[in-house]
């Protein structure tokens, strides 16, 4: 028997209790089975559409039925047939199942579900995460650091050279205990078989001089090593920052909106820095410490193996304790990371929305909100620091307890003549050198925890699937004439919640089209699709006959200009903000654009003219002025396709006139798509498209649509009524004065 590919597995029964069920589509019927038993069989002959309803934490499918009086229409939703319920884990598959059934209902053809079944990890059996091709649970623990090493590959030679120099510097330092021993045994407390080369005073002086030279050489090499590592470290962190930033820029709007700006900023700046510190600074020390550890261990064993073993008695205990605390330490640092990110996000929000905060007089509330977040962070930081302050000395103490054994037993050996005083001095001095790597190892979990947390955060960004990517061999999009075609476009921000349905549109080059409809009808979504901020779920959008998925986003965005309702201005001068549209614009072009946008006049009134600096969001400019700068940007860009998204809303009539005048110049010879709530502002449009619940409900000129007396007519009438009421209120206020 062949497997039915058009089968959907659901996991809740009608009472929203867990179950194992299947909904199959075969031979024009839908068959529901729960826990292996068929419970329902529905013929699709009377079916109109398979609808996915989504609630909170669950979803369900129901079949709407054809109205016998008019098969083009569906019976009311109260007549729908409920089929099955499921948790959110199954919504994507349900949406795909609906597509297949609805295609059958529309065309009579049977398709096949295209969704990839959730992949299961062969090692642990857990479902794999979407968009990630490794099982995060089974991945090798060292993967995080191996991958980090790959990242720092270009900087590895510099790090290795710096480490090699550091090791040589350390070898110079290790000469010191040997020289000390020589001085003690030959000049300070000469042993019986000592053969001094010089007289004692002369010898001490020469030995001291030699020790100074050795020390100075060590310090000199240390400085050279540091300089190399700092340079490599800075370049590495710059490389990491840019890589993460580039990745963030390539993410789609939907991916970006899942993270707060504070979170992203912390990843780009803070985490990359932590990683640099660990990989470059600590990594270098790690190599140095390990090598020194081996060298000194050999020297100690050769000097006195019994004493050496005493030094290492407590080490295994300390290592076991460290391992035990490892997971706890990780969680502590994760918590600190999140609190820091939260405090940053709050701060960023408050500063960005400072105008709103001040106008509502909520400064005190915001201060408290940030203070609370900051205090929460401080509490965790203090706890973590205290944890270390308590743990580190204890670990260090146990680690160093062997030193006391050395003093006790070593002293005895000197007295009994088994060891010379110089050998004991050398031994104890070397102990300091061997404790250094050991103590460093005690603090390693802390560095490791910090770096691990940061690396994971960076990988999260780097591994995020780029939803909107350019094709491998893009088609050129040059000298665009500006024709736009929507071919049966369907789209939803979530695939199971369609926002646009069956959109078919043809917009001719140079045509001005007004998009009209209630809030949430899908107007902004439609222009988001033209700009390819999102890709349609099905269907295609063509510009000059080329699918926009087949051209590069750069080419596409170069041919589209947008004027939004809220104009974002960057910190910088007015000139820079206009020239943002085109890097290579000449001064004359920038001024000409400002003139055409009616912005020149107000700019010239400012004492610094085009050099006037504006803060983030251009706080010192009015809404109308910001809008005119946006129009100037669009004029300067000189695109063939222009999108005006509520470009003239919330402006006073005088300013609006100026902007309308500027817009009239702007739209000339360009394909323009304009969204406006105030329908009067669309009076110049060649054609109006009325969207209703994601579908094109009406198209035509203003007059045609008014005659039709449909949705557009009702919208116009409602607005006229509101305007009339407003005028009456204004008149009565004026007369009462």
């Amino acid at each position: 028997m062949t497997e039915n590919k058009n089968q959907f597995f659901f996991d809740l029964d009608e009472q929203a209790k867990s179950c194992q069920g299947t909904l199959s589509f075969e031979k024009g019927e839908l068959i529901v089975s729960v826990d292996g038993e068929e419970t329902q069989r529905v013929s699709l002959v009377e079916g109109k559409e398979l609808v996915q309803q989504t609630a909170v934490g669950c979803s369900w499918l129901e079949l709407s039925l054809k109205d016998p009086a008019d098969p083009e229409k569906a019976l009311p939703a109260s007549e729908n047939i409920s089929l099955c319920r499921f948790t959110m884990s199954a919504v994507e598959e349900a949406a795909e199942f609906c597509k297949v059934v609805n295609y059958y209902l529309e065309t009579g053809f049977v398709g096949e579900m295209q969704i990839e079944r959730v992949l299961v990890c062969p090692t642990c059996g857990r479902a794999m995460m979407q968009g990630i091709d490794i099982c995060l649970f089974c991945v090798d623990k060292s993967y995080v650091f191996r991958r980090a090493l790959k990242l720092m590959k270009p900087f590895l030679p510099a790090v290795l050279v710096s480490t090699a120099i550091l090791i040589v510097a350390n070898l110079f330092y290790t000469l010191m205990p040997v020289l000390n021993r020589f001085m003690t045994d030959h000049y300070l407390a000469p042993t019986a078989d000592a053969k001094p080369w010089f007289a004692p005073v002369q010898g001490i002086l020469l030995m001291s001089l030699f020790m100074i030279l050795v020390r100075a050489a060590g310090e000199g090499l240390y400085i050279v090593s540091n300089r190399i590592s700092i340079r490599a470290g800075t370049r590495f962190s710059d490389f990491l920052r840019r890589m993460v930033y580039e990745k963030v820029q390539s993410l789609s709007l939907s991916s970006m909106s899942k993270k707060t700006s504070g979170d992203l900023m912390k990843r780009i700046t803070g985490d990359t820095n932590h990683i640099r510190q660990f990989l470059i600074d600590q990594g270098r020390y790690a190599l140095e410490m390990m090598l020194m550890f081996v060298v000194i261990l050999v020297i100690l064993l050769l000097t006195n193996w019994k004493l050496t073993l005493m030094v290492f008695i407590p080490v295994p205990v300390v290592l076991v304790v460290m391992n035990r605390y490892w997971s706890r330490i990780r969680v502590r640092y994760e918590k600190q990371w999140r609190r820091e990110s939260r405090a940053n996000s709050i701060l960023h929000d408050i500063i960005k929305g400072i105008r709103v905060v001040k106008t509502f007089g909520n400064e005190e509330r915001e201060i408290q909100k940030y203070s609370k977040a900051s205090e929460d962070l401080a509490v965790v930081s203090v706890q973590n620091e205290q944890f270390w302050a308590k743990t580190f000395p204890v670990l260090g103490f146990f680690m160093g307890i062997g030193e006391f054994f050395v003093l006790i037993f070593g002293g005895r050996m000197v007295i009994t003549g088994e060891m010379t005083l110089g050998e004991l001095v050398q031994f104890t001095l070397f102990l300091e050198y061997i404790y250094q790597p050991l103590r460093w190892m005690a603090s390693l979990p802390r560095w490791l925890a910090n770096a691990m947390t940061s690396l994971v955060k960076i990988y999260e960004v780097l591994d995020e699937k780029v939803e909107i990517a350019d094709v491998e061999n893009p088609k050129p999009l040059q000298q665009v004439t500006g024709s736009i075609r929507f071919q049966n476009v369907n789209f939803g921000y979530k695939s199971y919640e369609p926002v646009l349905k069956h959109i078919n549109l043809d917009i001719a080059p140079g045509e001005m089209v007004g998009l009209v409809g209630h809030s949430g009808a899908g107007k902004s979504t439609l222009i988001n699709l033209i700009m390819r901020l999102y890709d349609p779920d099905s269907g295609s959008i063509l510009i000059d006959g080329t699918d926009i998925k087949e051209v590069t986003q750069k080419d596409l965005h170069d041919s589209i200009g947008v004027v939004f309702q809220d104009t974002f201005l960057f910190a910088g001068s007015l000139y820079d903000n206009i020239a943002y549209a085109r890097e290579d614009a000449t001064r004359q072009e920038v001024i000409a654009a400002a003139k055409a946008a009616n912005a020149h006049e107000f700019i010239m009134r400012l004492s610094d003219g085009y050099n006037t600096q504006i803060g983030e969001n251009g706080h010192n400019l009015s809404g109308g002025e910001r809008q005119r700068l946006a129009i100037a940007r669009a004029i300067l860009k000189n695109p063939k396709i222009l999108i005006l998204d509520e470009a003239t809303s919330s402006l006073d009539p005088e300013t609006e006139d100026k902007i309308q005048e500027a817009l009239a110049r702007l739209v000339k010879n360009r394909t323009t798509i304009a969204i406006a709530h105030r329908l009067a502002t669309l009076r110049h449009a060649n054609r109006l498209i009325v969207l209703e619940k994601g579908e094109v409900a009406e198209t035509g000129s203003h007059n045609e649509l008014m005659e039709k007396k449909g949705i557009y007519y009702r919208l116009v009438m409602a607005q006229r009524q509101t305007a009339k009421l407003r005028d009456e209120v204004a008149a009565s206020v004026a007369s009462s004065k």
């Binding site: 009608e14 009472q15 909170v56 669950c58 009311p76 884990s89 857990r126 995460m129 939260r342 955060k457």
Partner: protein, 167 residues
Amino acid sequence: MQNTNLDIGLLDPSVLTFYINPRGFLALKKGEEDFKRVKLTRALPLTDPDAYIAVSDMSGKEIGILKSLLDLPEEQQKLLQNELSKTYYCPTITQVRSIREKLGYFYFDAKVDEVHRTFAVKDISRSIKQMDDSTVFIADVDGNRYIIRDFAAIHPASRRKLEPYLY
């Protein structure tokens, strides 16, 4: 200054009769009017799930708001509670066996409605919310929601495992 205009379209419970229509959907008789299918939406699903429940028709037009479920007869309350439990699906976590982190994803091994289940949570600062001292909401990567109604009452071992992720 407090606003005195507080007309939010509250429904008079005495004229409401909710019933299940022949197709199994919730319907409402409001005085003489018969709404053949209605849907319920909680205004405060996290903080006050049984109060301020909007009743609307299938086109989304609000018929009115029920101030409190308790204003209805017991049998009607049960009917609405049952409907709400189907549209706000949020099973209860009774035990957290382990939380293990892998590259930013947190794998929960938990007892959910007494059934052993594993799920993954990403971006825990947004996905785990403690509403007050007692209630904790968790949302997994698929959009499923889970609730711990009384955080203080779950086993101390479970509490210790989840505590670091709450703030």
